[in-house]
Symmetry: C2
Amino acid sequence: MHHHSSPNIEQEIGLLLRHNNLSITDSRKKILQLFFAQEGALAHGDIEKKAGEKFDRVTIYRTLQTFVDKGIIHTIPTADNSIRYALCKDACTEGHHHDHHIHFVCNQCQHTFCLDDVVTPEIKLPKGYNATHVEVVVEGVCKNCTA
Amino acid sequence: MHHHSSPNIEQEIGLLLRHNNLSITDSRKKILQLFFAQEGALAHGDIEKKAGEKFDRVTIYRTLQTFVDKGIIHTIPTADNSIRYALCKDACTEGHHHDHHIHFVCNQCQHTFCLDDVVTPEIKLPKGYNATHVEVVVEGVCKNCTA
DNA sequence: TAATAAAAAGCAACAATGTTGCAAAGTGGT
DNA sequence: ACCACTTTGCAACATTGTTGCTTTTTATTA
């Protein structure tokens, strides 16, 4: 399980923000904590539910956007109009995401996971098409629900 | 270009609806015409723009939902909260979609295409994960824009 | 530590998108 | 032409996302 509640998560979060030239604010810390405490991806709505009493909706929108811009989190496409966000584990930088792993959506628990060890395959495209990014989303039953 | 305006499109649409046990109505015909006249996928918003003066927004929502349920169209996930829809070319039936092709989103013209000849690859998942469906969305520059 | 400039958060108002119940209109079958 | 059933349009509402502006917070300097 990835649920560290180690005392230096706080520190780690501070460093992460500082490395990205972001000032350290309550909302940024709180939202990053949610991501660190979570195995899987979060939608805006999830964050609003978990942190919404403390923070304005607008702040959450803007914070997520900032994190995406800085390469701290990445988006995961969905077919239900609720973009998911997850921490970038590869070396992403401002304006350059390098997430080559696939994503898994569980039909049972509805959670979305980054399978960091499964890289996106090469796709052979017809003539004239040039790929810059390949996104793979696999649906099915996850490890926790298979049991 | 795929813009047939052949006289039997109308017939084809009628048959398609009848085969799916759907009554033939103006909005269903119009929306199917848009899909047939279009190389690429459509979002709800696109359809609303092109047919919105004639039909209520609610009707468009309900019609798209009906078509998805019947296996006439399928959804394409996106990371911008605007689900795209495209005609199913494989043999989809009510409750059973069999679209194994990949999707391509052009960064230049912003259109989304079904590459019907490119099948989704096998993905090897970690132990415990079971796949029921694999969705591949490739981003890049399409045939028309490469020129 | 206090003062300050810059950045972020909060607020309010708004825009866009999606949903529901119900009455009116249209469809297919007799 | 009639009838049962389905679909549409309307209205009202809920949810989600955006924008401008004021207040608060942050990081930095003295």
